[in-house]
């Protein structure tokens, strides 16, 4: 084990660059997933005929597959049906597909947790279903969804590491490149990489906890 050799300024900078890619990919994916998952969740909550059944089937399938498989499939299998994605878009697409399915469930159960009387009262005071959804149900549900969405973001940050299988230049991959130079760097680099994930994720989990406490 060679800590001094592993923690040179160049290596640290290289790891931080990797971490920056991790954060960017995770952030873009969570935003896209929130939009797509939000739409899916709302459609399923509103029980739009046919569409919500089809979406339920897709969500259940995606949710029950390993993310690693989805990443692998997006990058290596889609070119066989002429959908060729570069590494970074492929990682974002795969993470977004998986995370949208997860978030749609968070959003749907958040919507369902709002008391039925709210919708009935809104409707009987003359709002249309859509108006009631937008002005009455969603604002209340969104507040409840924040903590689970933060925990999904933590999962996503960790899951981004799976994109090493398609050589996404993120934190874990940059770690691999450094300890690829010498076995002596392996443990020091694994420890440092773990700590970097830990610091960001733990801070986020504290934020989620704080928000949860505030609510109750």
């Amino acid at each position: 084990m060679d800590f001094a050799g592993a923690y040179t300024p160049d290596n640290l900078k290289f790891l931080l660059e990797g971490f920056w890619v991790t954060l960017q990919v995770a952030f873009i994916s969570i935003i896209l997933s929130f939009i797509i998952g939000g739409l899916v969740g709302i459609i399923r909550y509103a029980k739009v005929p046919v569409l919500s059944q089809i979406l339920a089937l897709i969500v259940e399938t995606v949710r029950n597959l390993p993310l690693l498989l989805i990443i692998f499939f997006t990058y290596f299998a889609l070119p066989e049906i002429r959908i060729k994605l570069e590494i970074i878009p492929a990682a974002i697409v795969a993470l977004t597909i998986f995370e949208s399915a997860m978030l749609s469930e968070v959003i749907r159960s958040g919507l369902k947790s709002i008391d039925k009387g709210q919708m009935e009262a809104a409707r009987s005071s003359g709002l249309s279903y859509t108006q009631a959804l937008i002005h009455i149900i969603l604002p209340q549900a969104l507040r409840r969804m924040v903590p689970p969405i933060v925990s999904q973001f933590i999962s996503l940050l960790k899951d981004t590491s799976l994109a090493v299988v398609i050589s996404l230049p993120e934190l874990t991959h940059h770690g691999q490149i450094i300890y690829g130079q010498s076995q002596k760097y392996l443990i020091p680099i694994l420890i440092l990489v773990a700590l970097m994930y830990f610091i960001v994720n733990y801070s986020l989990s504290l934020v989620a906890q704080r928000l949860e406490l505030k609510r109750t």
Partner: protein, 212 residues
């Protein structure tokens, strides 16, 4: 259309991977349950250093990627992919299980412990005979979800040549030069495991919610 000859001609490899995925998941499930219960107990036992140790374990493991833990065992300790992956799965899942169990135990009203202690039971007896049986009901659905995650996460074995379903998919696709169809069948095998599990967990959640 899907080429089903890929499935039939490589069925033995698919099934071998499928079997290893099930075995690894089951071993990791049982060991992470045991470890998770121990850590949950450490976190709520009335001994401060143990609480601290349990919390540190859970918070650290939960917040780092499974892949890093796997690399530690595979590259650092030079275990075989199958062992390294299963061990990493155990460690990783145990932190989530510990957290689920702790939440379950804490949701049992405090009066239960006080009543049990004042009727002469020791802390250990009260925990075993009074608190845990009540906590089990609350804990079962989240544990079920953890098991589903465990089965999906077991695909991490493929990254370290762990002989699981994903890994065999990789072998088959390098043999047949087909990726798309090979992985559709791999996905089907995963769904055979995870879909019934999710339905089971959903059913339990509904039933337990009704009984409350």
């Amino acid at each position: 259309m899907l080429d089903f000859s890929i499935l039939t001609e490589n069925l033995d490899m698919y099934l071998l991977g499928f079997k290893n995925t099930i075995m690894s998941s089951l071993v990791a499930l049982v060991s992470s349950l045991i470890l998770g219960v121990l850590i949950a107990i450490m976190r709520i036992a009335p001994i401060k250093p143990l609480n601290w140790l349990g919390t540190a374990y859970v918070e650290f493991i939960r917040n780092i990627p499974l892949l890093i833990i796997t690399f530690f065992f595979f590259l650092g300790l030079k275990l075989s992919g199958l062992y390294a992956g299963t061990l990493a799965l155990t460690i990783y899942t145990s932190s989530f299980i510990a957290e689920a169990i702790r939440a379950g135990i804490l949701s049992v009203p405090k009066g239960q412990m006080e009543a049990a202690r004042s009727s002469g039971l020791t802390y250990g007896q009260a925990m075993r005979l009074v608190i845990l049986p009540q906590a089990v009901k609350i804990v079962i659905p989240p544990l079920g979800n953890q098991f589903i995650n465990l089965v999906k996460n077991s695909s991490i074995l493929a990254v370290v040549a762990g002989l699981d379903l994903m890994y065999h998919g990789d072998l088959i696709s390098s043999r047949t030069f087909v990726v798309f169809d090979v992985y559709i069948f791999v996905a089907a095998f995963y769904l055979i495991l995870t879909i019934p599990l999710s339905f089971g967990v959903g059913y339990l959640e509904k039933r337990l919610a009704k009984s409350n």
